[in-house]
Each structure stands twice: as C-alpha cells, then as structure tokens.
C-alpha cells in the first residue's frame, strides 16, 4: 500500500532529515516546520516518487529549496553575528555545549546557500556534483560557496584551520 510505504519512509528518514534541517535553520521549531512541509509535498507526490525510486532525494531537494526561498522572504530570520562564544577544548559537558553554540552561531552567520552547501558536503557527505544537483546550481557555484563558507568558518572558529575541510573533491 502506498501509505504504508510512506509511513515506513517517514519513520526511517525523518530523524536524518530533521538533523539536516536543524543545521539549516538553527532552530528546532523551524527545523520541524521545514521537514513537515517537505514531507507533506513528498507525500502528495508519493506514487510518482515511489515509481521513480528517489523519494529521499526529492524530499531533500524540497527542503533545501524551501529554506532558501524562506530566507529570501524573511532575511530577518537570519541572526548574523561576528561574535561566537570562545570555544573550549577540554572535554566536559559545559565545553561541549559552548562548542555547539559556537558552531551554531558560526553556521548561522553564513548566507543560506553557503550554509546549505556546507551541510550537504560536510554533514551529509554529498559529492560536489550531488550538492549542485540538490541546490540546482553548477558545480563551480558549489565550489565557490564552499570556499567562501570555509573561509568564514575558519575566521569564526580558528580551531577548524587544520581540520582538513578543503580540497577533497568527489
């Protein structure tokens, strides 16, 4: 049954979609809204997507494109800052929390397309070609987004400088 299939898809893929959406939006409520909308559109197109065998790619494409268009409509939602908390290197809960906060703010300071490219490339481990396909742009544009984004992240999070986040192209 198609709806059973969609239920299975929802159960198995929602957690991963929510994690990516959280990185994209920086807010758990907005992340849930984003995934909700993307999954609803997926549900509506389910018969076709199931036949084509690519529902998750479609959902992710919808999710990233929705976030870009929402950002265009409401740039205010982007809380940009040049100040990120000083990161801590010793391993305790407070240190982890500070590091996550610093990462969230640094990620939030990126323009939405750069942020999307970073998440697809370094969180989802997509190739540059896959990233370009999802974002609907050329590979060269993805490279440009990544280059600027990494430079910005290094500026805000100096400890990333030797993280090996550049160069690897697939």
């Amino acid at each position: 049954m198609p709806d059973d299939d969609f239920d299975t898809f929802f159960r198995t893929r929602s957690p991963a979609l929510l994690r990516a959406a959280y990185l994209l939006t920086g807010d758990r409520h907005l992340a849930e809204d984003l995934v909700q909308e993307a999954l609803a559109r997926t549900h509506l197109a389910w018969s076709r997507l199931r036949a084509e065998g690519s529902p998750e790619a479609y959902t992710r494409r919808i999710m990233y494109n929705l976030q870009v268009s929402r950002w265009r409509r409401s740039k205010f939602a982007e809380v940009r800052t040049d100040r990120v908390p000083e990161t801590r290197h010793h391993q305790d809960e407070a240190g982890d929390a500070v590091n996550r906060l610093a990462m969230r703010r640094a990620l939030g300071s990126l323009p939405v397309r750069q942020r999307a490219a970073v998440i697809l490339r370094y969180f989802e481990d997509r190739s540059e070609a896959e990233t370009a396909e999802i974002l609907g742009c050329r590979i060269g544009t993805v490279k440009s987004h990544l280059s600027r984004a990494i430079a910005r992240l290094r500026e805000l999070l100096p400890e990333l400088s030797d993280s090996g986040v550049e160069g690897a192209s697939r």
Binding site: L39, A40, F76, Q91, M103, F123, S161
Partner: protein, 386 residues
C-alpha cells in the same frame, strides 16, 4: 572527539535535534498534506470559475463589493448587540453549497498566547485540530502587555515600554521562536499591528509629534504610513489583504486596501452607543469581500480590537444574526472564512468556550469545544488565520 573536525562538529550540533515527537510530526505532515491538497483544489476551482466568467461576460468582469453568493441572515442595526432577534436562517440560499462537508475540527489556524512574567512565553497554534507549542523565551515584567503574533505565527511584536500604562514610549521589539529579541524601532507607543505581508509592522512613533509609521522588521527601516492606514483606530485587514476596516467614535469604515472604494456605516443607533461610554466600533475582522465587519468594545489602546460580539453588514447597515450557545452567553471573538462563513468563539453556560462554524447562509455547520483556552488570565485566543 576531535574538535578540529568540521564533520564531527556538525554531527555534534545535529545531535541537539534528538527529542522530536514523531507522532506529532506525523500528524502535522498529514495536516500539511491536506492543506496543500485543498489549496491546489481551490486554485483549480478558481481557475475554472474565472474561465467560465470570462466566457460568460465576453472577456471582462467588474469587481464588485457585493458578493453574489449566500449571505448571512441579518437584523436591523438598532437591535441590541449580542441578542439577535432572529436565529440563523435555516433555509440555505439558492446558491449555497448543496452539501458542505462537516470538518472534524476548526479549519485554519487558531493562535493562542500564554504570557506570564517569569515563565516561558508560549504560543499554541491549533491547525485543523492539531496543536503545537512554540516558546519565545521567558516573559519579563513588561511583557505582560499585548504581544502581536505575525501572520505566519513565527514571530511576536511587542512594544517594551518602561511604563506602558502611562504611555511612555518604548522599543518595538520582534521576538523570535526561542526568545531572540531584536529592537527594530524606538520611541514607539501603543500596540504594534502586523501588516498583511508579515514583514512590516504599523506603529505610532513619538517625536515632535506622533506619526503613524511602517517599520520593516527585516531591515529596521521606517517610512511614514500611507493615508489609507495612518492614524486609523482598530485597523484591520481582511484575510485576503484586499480590504481594510477601521472604527470611528460611532461609525465603521471599510475601504479597499489602497484606500479607495470607501464605505462608512453608522452604528449610533445601537443601544450600546447610548448606554455605554463608547460604541462597539473596534473592528476585529473584515470579510474577504469587504461587506461584513466583526465589531467589539473599544479598548483603551486604539490599535487593535480585543473582542467582537456582533457582525455588521456594511451594505445594509443591519446586524447579522449570530449563533448562541445558551441564554446570557454570546460571542467574544469572530473571524470570517474565505467561503463566506464565520468562526465564532463563544462562551458556554458551563464557563468554558466553544467554536461555532457558521455557513455563508448563516446556519450552523458545526460546534467544537475550545479545549485550549485557559481563561482570562491564562492561555488566550489572540488570532485566527483561515
């Protein structure tokens, strides 16, 4: 853990997203699916109707304030408010839908706010019966005044005044989900009013004189409000953004959104205008065709209506009969539906509240208990979006 690894740092951050209520999310996905499906169906229907109309009138049509569809039953405007002399018409007009499906919950989105100093500011939205809660940080002492939720219910606007009661100017602040606050204008008095685009807020800025000002909440830029909306009391737009309405001391005015096509109707004959210091000219809602307005008592702040208990037909000057849930109780909030019907929030005899869905012909489609409202000092209904 290697702190110097972007991949790991991203995964650590994403781990914050672990405690989602998936049952709730699944319901919300289904609700969104139905909403999108309805919109697509409506768009198809409108396109079809438009095509037929174009053929019927030879390629042109005139916009008319008077809708040709079913209209609520009315009584003369001199009727005591809140006590309609005739009930809703039991006979549907010839153009009423033959069999309107009865929904299982109030269609659209109801917005409730819970603001208590020292506790989380909580917005509860109920969309097609599905609830979700969003917090906007902790309420400060000055936050006990009126918050205005944005049309998409993702932000709140509030004027943080050092002394709101004495109309001391304060900052216009936009509060994001999670509690981040952004000051977008200073020297503001009164309650902020969101404009239909959800990107601008209308306020009064105090300088050498008080000026109606439109603030772009994205850029904090301000512009003087257009005459159509400047210095208007109890101003509100129709849900489709095509009409606006505002109240005077004893009359109500409806215009097209650009200020043209103006109609002013007096309510001075209402007994309330004789028995109380002021007439019920605070406009809570105006219908999508600009014909009907929901009116309530005039609060001290002239920016926004807090309640509505009667509906005025601007075309005939008559009151529209409203449903009642029992003797001595009546409507306290009224909004209009795109289908010509209404959502009436009304008290019930057991001290609680209910929603009555009213068809375009004035008959009752369905009644639902309001299980979210928590009384005057707790969570309260502040907005409805069809």
């Amino acid at each position: 853990m290697n702190d110097n690894n972007l991949h790991l740092r991203l995964h650590e951050l994403a781990d914050e997203m672990l405690d989602t209520d998936y049952t709730d999310l699944r319901e919300r996905v289904d609700t969104s699916t139905r909403r999108i499906r309805r919109r697509r169906a409506a768009a198809t229907t409108v396109a079809g109707i438009t095509a037929v109309a174009v053929v019927a009138v030879g390629g042109w049509a005139l916009a008319s304030r008077t809708h040709g569809g079913p209209q609520p039953a009315t009584t003369p405007a001199g009727t005591p408010a809140g006590t309609p002399t005739t009930g809703p018409s039991a006979v549907a007009s010839p153009t009423a839908p033959a069999a309107q499906a009865v929904p299982t919950a109030v269609p659209g989105t109801l917005v409730y706010l819970d603001v208590v100093a020292g506790k989380p500011i909580t917005m509860t939205t109920v969309t097609d019966g599905v609830s979700r809660h969003t917090t906007f940080g902790t309420a400060a002492e000055n936050d006990t005044y009126w918050f205005a939720p944005s049309p998409d219910a993702t932000r709140l606007a509030v004027v943080e005044s050092p002394n709101f009661a004495n109309v001391v100017p304060g900052d216009l602040v936009i509060v994001m989900a999670g509690g981040t606050r952004h000051t977008v204008a200073r020297n503001v008095v009164g309650v902020p009013l969101w404009m239909p685009d959800g990107q601008h807020v209308l306020v009064t800025v105090v300088g050498s004189s008080a000026t109606s000002t439109v603030v772009d909440v994205n850029t904090s830029t301000t512009t003087t409000a257009q005459p159509a909306v400047a210095d208007k009391s109890y101003l509100t737009w129709s849900a489709n953004g095509q009409w606006l309405a505002y109240g005077g001391s004893t009359d109500v005015t409806v215009t097209a959104a650009d200020g043209t096509d103006k109609t002013t109707t007096s309510v001075a004959a209402l007994p309330e205008c004789h028995q109380r210091p002021s007439c019920p000219t605070a406009v809570q809602a105006v219908s999508d065709d600009g014909r009907y307005v929901a009116l309530g008592s005039r609060p001290t702040d002239t920016r926004t209506a807090r309640e509505a208990h009667l509906v005025l037909d601007m075309q005939t000057g008559s009151l529209v009969s409203l449903p009642t849930t029992g003797p001595g109780v009546g409507a306290d909030k009224i909004w209009f539906r795109p289908d010509g019907g209404m959502v009436v929030h009304t008290a019930t005899n057991d001290g609680k509240y209910a929603f009555v869905l009213v068809r375009a012909d004035g008959s009752t489609l369905a009644t639902f208990p309001d299980t979210t409202e928590q009384g005057p000092s707790g969570r309260h209904l502040v907005a409805y979006h069809p």
